[in-house]
Symmetry: C2
Subunit: 233 residues, 2 copies
DNA sequence: TGGGATTTGTTCGTATGTATT
DNA sequence: GAATACATACGAACAAATCCC
């Protein structure tokens, strides 16, 4: 009986995931200060665990860690954003090359279903819409089975949403969903050239949406409430 | 006057760097256990700082962090190694594309000088030879100015040396130095196609060196001695 | 400019979990 | 297979730096 919440699978990963999701959903916009105390208090863990999570997030480029001055949600510059997308192109192109003509039936179904849920979320104006659009790309990457590639694509997709939060249209979901469908068709057909072409075009259109948006966030503890629940904290 | 060694630039980064170099030099071969106590003792810092460094190294894929069972130098499988090189191909190809015909004179000189020192180290049978070969690739990447790309190439090159330690020929330096020279020439000439070709071929030949090597390491504190000094610890 | 409040950096003790004999 | 030895996981408390009046 010595496992009250550790047994629930909730250790430091949970803190990491809660914060990450909050950032990706733009509930914690870029620049938001992330004080160790408030976060730990809200999530019911000590600062040690929070520090660990923040350190990990900083390695992923989602959080900036200024010495003696605390952590904050990263605010990548426009140029960093451009560089990021250049790298993302190269890796997602690799994903498509590896996958063209190699998708199993189950994988095709999973992708198709994911696109459906993207569709629905958008129609309902659901906030998850932004995250779902990104998850299409990570889902695709995961199907390569290449752990390194998966990790990098995950990271770049996550950071892309930061760029979009800073420089993208207010709430335009990141991706044109129809483009996801086209890409899936090309992959099914085993047409690597077309698939690559589509992916490149798709990412280019994502990249070139550069306008402004502005939001403020009040108290970090309020924002974290729902994310804590989701992680069983 | 409260800065005895913190002032020397030595905080947690120093622990990280010392361990990383020890791993890359294969002074700490894959599988070596990394107990927080011994390391902290030898480096003169507390376990907290060591933990932080180990956590970072695990994010970079150099260290495995098994819950409740401590840290050890990562021992990637052959398949992970293959996947790693696939990803590395894609990114270094991008590096070459970005750089072809765009190198400044100073950059060309720096690369040329680096190759010279590779040459010399190898002739002397210097242990640094392995690390220098890898640093040619990271030097190249750094010239793109693309922070994301640089970080990933750094990581992949570092992890490559783990693969080589596990599955490569005993002490064959990682790269054929002549191939570095050829690549540099193609980049100077602005011949992107040839440069890409050379890089691909070069990395393929690195990948396909898969034999066996075996070493043991005695006490981790002895090994760390020289690396501690180098970081002012 | 100064001083108090707040936040981060670090250490260290205790509890928990894992290997070993 | 139980007890012992050991290493890690976590948290509370202290020290130092920064921020804000």
């Amino acid at each position: 009986m010595t496992k009250d919440k550790a047994a629930a699978g909730g250790r430091s990963p949970a803190v990491h995931r809660a914060l990450k999701r909050a950032i990706l959903d733009q509930a914690l916009p870029p620049g938001t200060k992330l004080p160790e105390d408030s976060i730990g208090e809200r999530l019911g863990v000590s600062r040690t665990l929070v520090r660990e999570a923040l350190l990990r997030l900083s390695e992923e480029g989602l959080v900036e860690l200024r010495p003696n001055r605390g952590a904050a949600v990263a605010r990548p510059s426009l140029e960093e954003g451009y560089d990021l997308f250049v790298t993302r192109f190269a890796l997602e192109k690799l994903v498509v090359e590896l996958l063209a003509g190699k998708l199993t039936g189950a994988q095709q179904d999973a992708l198709s279903r994911h696109i459906d849920s993207e569709d629905e979320a958008r129609r309902h104006g659901d906030a998850r819409s932004i995250r779902l659009a990104g998850e299409f790309h990570t889902l695709l990457a995961s199907m390569t089975g290449n752990a390194t590639l998966i990790r990098y694509v995950n990271e770049l997709v996550a950071r892309s949403s930061l760029i979009l939060a800073l420089y993208g249209r207010p709430h335009s979901s990141e991706c044109a969903i129809s483009e996801h469908r086209q890409l899936l068709e090309a992959l099914k057909a085993g047409d690597a050239a077309t698939a690559t072409q589509l992916m490149t075009h798709h990412l280019e259109s994502v990249t070139t949406r550069a306008l402004l948006t502005r939001d403020k966030v009040e108290d970090i503890r309020d924002v974290l409430a729902s994310y804590a629940a989701a992680e069983g904290l």
